[in-house]
Amino acid sequence: MLAQTSTGLTQAQSAPQVLVKPKHDQGDVGTVQASQSVVTKAPNQSIREISHISEKPKVSAISARRNTSRRKGTAFPALERRNWLIHMHYVRKDYARCRDLIEEQIKETKNRCEYALYVKAMILRVDGDIQQSLKLFQRCHQINQSNPENLKQIGKNLILLGRHKSAIECYKTAIDLGGKDWQICQSLGICAQFLKDYKQAEAHLSEALTLSRHVITYQLLSNLHLDHGEVASAKHVLEKGIHHYGENVELLTSLGVLYLQAGDFHRAFELLGKSLTYDPENYKAILAAGSLMQQHGDFDVALSKYRAAAQSCPESSSLWNNIAMCFFGKKKLVAAISCLKRAHYLSPFDWRILYNLSLLHLTMQQFASSFQFASSALTLKREHGGLYMLLAISLAYLGQQNNANQAFQQALTLSGDDPHVLVNFASFLHHTLADSQQASQILSRFKKIKKDSPNFDKEVLDASKKLMVALNIADDAELGKKSSETTTDKKKKRKEKRDSTTRKSESKSEERNLPGGKEEENAEEKRD
């Protein structure tokens, strides 16, 4: 059979039909049969070569036998003979060529080649034709009912079609055939998740993890926990995942964000930094790490990170919002407003962006615009003290004392522990309404809060001190603190105090800027 020269083969191909059975009309069989006839008719040089090495008895036996049974072996080529070729094309994602091969193979085997149909169905699924793909997988299952792989793929298609209950049935049959594996367990978990059976989903996914540890399962399980508010379990799952896949960016980022939300900034920064080392263009990690940097006033670094994200996700409103707040931190107000306007354009119903817009316009002393943005934010988000505070401040500037007072009251009821609300309200009461009594009442509330958590912004503290001086209230917390502070700090503070008294009206609006920006970033993370 080996013994053809190239001339022998060309002859054979020119008349492939000679000895071919009508149903095996593909070229290979014809070639073989015809060329064998060439061999027998005209033994050429190569044949002689074989006879030379006749010390191997088997070889001559083969050549002898060949004449007697020439159809054998090639009359019925194995159905699987091109499976490997189809597989190679499939894994290389060379779908066009793969499809041609499959069609040829299906034609040749009369729709009986299980693997060709299987790969065809896989490609159809990639193309999005789930229904057709499902049909083909079912045909595969019909051909070979003992292969759990076909059932698994049927189940996957059923999930994609949203038929989760049928998918579960299908997977159960697959388990009966070939036992459990991580794919089945994970898919069962996904089904249970869609069917809102949290306990079952968790059990299946955990089982999948015991069978084989895959990143995707860790992600699914942690998301499942998060959806049900079990942050601790989600963290636990992600920690375990990172233990096994220490370099997985997705897992690192997800855990980092969780820590960020929990307020463990140190650990969050460590994790996010790690994920950014492995993938410096990961959008989620950039946004989270950037907001952390912003929180610590590291605006330039945050901006440089955002620049990378802006290339990959130029249409993210959160990103533009954070960029804007970076510019705001750098006192580039016009650029900040530009970016915020873009963010607002990208997602017009995001109250956080409106909040920031209101804040910025307040800083720009565009009180009418500030009022507009605050009020539209309020229609989207009713129960937010900070928004009422912004509204109240702009109303105060717009000469609407009564309305401002009402808005402040509302802010106070909604978030009475917010130091910004308290200080601003007190300042409003003192300066605009000249109601010193109530102002000192509010300030005493502020003092109480300050005692509990001393880490306030300097601007807030300065403003409160100023007010206390004006209202003649002794700042007992300050007295206690003095001993711990260095003298230079004290001097600086006093100087600032003096400076700021001269530009009272300005500082009043500015003192809420930073906290506003920060709040925004936190909120951003929660949303992600």
Binding site: M1, L2, A3, Q4, T5, L9, Q13, K21, G27, D28, T31, S35, S46, I50, K56, K58, S69, A75, F76, A78, L79, E80, R81, N83, W84, L85, M88, Y90, V91, R92, K93, D94, E104, K110, W182, H214, I216, Y245, E247, V249, G273, T277, Y278, P280, E281, S304, R307, A308, A310, Q311, I337, S338, K341, R342, Q365, Q366, F367, A368, F371, Y397
Partner: protein, 594 residues
């Protein structure tokens, strides 16, 4: 962290580490990495490239020998060649290796580029009952339909039948069955398997030119070790899935390990002393490339990742690739003792990974289909790439090149240096801002005033329309009616023709009749008189036009006068009319001729 990123330096475009040696864009080659090999065919220290060319994938399969970039010799191959390996089969001098081509269910051995031997893989067991049926049929003990029924039953039971039986089951009528039986009935039944991958294993010595065995992966989920001297089957391993890539290490006579990557996404370990395969690790995507460096297995996967596992199955590292993997090869720079994995991507690039670091990037002329690194001609460090277009490209590594791990900190990504696009603000914006700063109170008040005005206007119009009860078209989706009216005559007596249509679309279930309706009029009683004042409407069939007429008398005798008449269609039990039409009456009354 920031410092380390900044410190990694600039990523300047530097010259390639590779020399473009040959390029033949019309070589017309079609082979995968498994189908090409660099072999010293003459035993003179100069290697040729041997390609088991797949032809068109269906025919024209050839064994091609290339020198430089052109084919110097070619032989036909009968079936699609799966892989090609070179093995030393004897101890003869000069040391010239033979070629083993895996194809279909056989191994074809070429010695001195001449066909030498064909080794058929062991055939699979044929179902005893099936064989018995065929035997009986051939001896004409059973009829054609009995054979058919028997085979059908076996097939239903889930028994694996031979292709011959399956083909027989496809026969439609008795005539073709008989024909089939006559043609093939006497043939012995066969079940063949197919070679899926091919590798070699040194037999008892580890020298480069020591005698080797062929290791064959088959479609029957087995791995066979075949002796190349006597062509006997030495060992069989069975796997739970079909192997698609293999890597073998060790010596057959001492101990050896076969790493087999299978189609179910798992990699199995087969050791000499056990026939069973052990799962080494499992990946979540199909494996595209499979290489081994010492005891580490590196797999490139369909999900654009490259991962490295230890022999114990622990994931050592995992990197994301910037494109889809199309092929891989091992770069074994023996002179420098440097081993790396080359990953060909669909972006026409080849990345060289040493551990998880990219140490080099090679740009090819097209998407590679097969890669091979080794000695080509006399160059020890050649990279041969066969592209999907059929072209062959040969690159040679410069001798001065030193690869060093750059570390994972590759500096900030290029995108970080691109400036942000912040929309510029116009002068108009600045002017507006200044204006607002100066007049914010006025603006606010004006705006609030205007807003109130608008609200007032809106409320007024709403109130008005509520009062008028104007509904020219029915606003009740259950009863869509349209009403038109026309006036005839010059007065003082007019005739009003009312035109009423039920515009609902009737269905076979619900005829959508509009029942219990009344037509009433509103007018100034001092001016007009209408008879009849109330019309009882019949049930309105959809899409039928109903005409009604009423008489209107103008009562005013002194002065010409004109007023509106409103017609309502009302439904019993509803305060709001279904449809309203306001009709402006023509001027009438008084002495027209005065």
């Amino acid at each position: 962290m920031e410092r380390s990123i900044k410190g990694a330096g600039e990523d300047t475009k530097k010259d390639s580490n590779w020399i473009n040696a040959h390029l033949n864009p019309i070589a017309g080659l079609y082979a995968f990495s498994s189908g090409i090999a660099l072999v010293d065919l003459n035993g003179q220290g100069s290697s040729n490239l041997v390609v088991a060319d797949l032809g068109t994938g269906l025919k024209d399969m050839k064994l091609k020998v290339l020198k430089d970039s052109s084919v110097v010799q070619e032989h036909s191959i009968i079936d699609v060649p799966t892989g090609i390996v070179s093995v030393y089969m004897d101890l003869n001098e000069p040391r010239i290796p033979s070629l083993v081509v895996g194809s279909g269910s056989s191994l074809y051995v070429y010695k001195n580029l001449r066909p030498f031997y064909k080794y058929n893989l062991p055939q699979l067991e044929v179902n005893a009952e099936e064989a018995k049926l065929w035997h009986q049929a051939a001896e004409q003990e059973i009829a054609v339909d009995t054979l058919q029924a028997g085979l059908e039953a076996l097939n239903k039971e889930g028994k694996v039948l031979t292709v011959q039986s399956l083909d027989y089951l496809e026969q439609q009528d008795d005539k073709s069955c008989t024909q089939f039986l006559n043609d093939y009935g006497s043939m012995s039944l066969k079940r063949e398997t197919v070679v899926t991958c091919l590798s070699t294993l040194k037999k008892s010595m580890s020298e480069a030119d020591a005698i080797s065995c062929a290791v064959v992966g088959t479609e029957n989920k087995e791995i066979l070790v075949v002796d190349s001297e006597a062509f006997t089957l030495l060992k069989t391993f069975s796997l739970p899935s079909v192997p698609c890539f293999m890597s073998v290490t060790g010596l057959y006579d001492v101990t050896f390990v076969v790493y087999a990557a299978c189609r179910n996404g798992r990699v199995y370990l087969c050791k000499k002393d056990s026939a069973e395969a052990k799962v080494c690790f499992e990946v979540s995507s199909q494996i595209v490339g499979f290489e081994r460096i010492h005891k580490q297995v590196i797999v490139a996967m369909m999900n654009q990742t490259l991962a490295c596992f230890s022999a114990k199955g622990k994931c050592l590292w995992n990197v994301d690739l910037p494109g889809s993997v199309v092929c891989t090869t091992l770069m074994d720079h023996k002179a420098k003792g440097f081993k790396a994995v080359m990953v060909g991507l669909d972006t026409s690039k080849v990345l060289v990974y040493h551990n998880n670091n990219i140490v080099d990037t090679i740009e090819l002329q097209g998407v590679p289909q097969a890669l091979c690194f080794g000695k080509y001609g006399v160059e020890n460090t050649s990279l041969i790439a066969i592209l999907t277009t059929g072209a062959i490209e040969v690159l040679v590594l410069k001798r001065t090149v030193e690869y060093a791990d750059k570390g994972i900190n590759q500096g900030p990504p290029a995108s970080q240096r691109i400036k942000l696009e912040i929309p510029k603000k116009s002068q108009l914006y600045v002017d507006q801002t200044v204006r607002e700063r100066n007049h914010y109170r006025d603006m606010f008040q004006n705006f609030q005033y205007d807003l109130r005005q608008i609200r007032l206007t809106a409320a007024k119009s709403y109130y008005k329309s509520l009062n008028l009860k104007v509904t020219p078209l029915s606003d009740d989706p259950a009863m869509p009616l349209s009403l038109t009216a026309s006036i005839f005559g010059i007065g003082p007596r007019f005739k009003m023709l009312l035109n009423l249509v039920n515009t609902a679309a009737a269905t076979s279930v619900d005829p959508k009749l509009a029942c219990r309706l009344k037509l009433v009029f509103r007018y100034a009683e001092s001016i007009y008189d209408i008879t009849p004042r109330i019309l009882n409407l019949p049930a309105l069939v959809p899409e039928q036009t109903y005409n009604f007429s009423v008489c209107i008398d103008c009562l005013e005798k002194e002065n010409p006068i004109q007023d509106d008449v409103t017609a309502f269609v009302c439904k019993a039990g509803r305060s709001k009319p279904v449809v309203t039409a306001i009709i402006s009456m023509p001027v009438a009354g008084g002495n027209v001729f005065a």
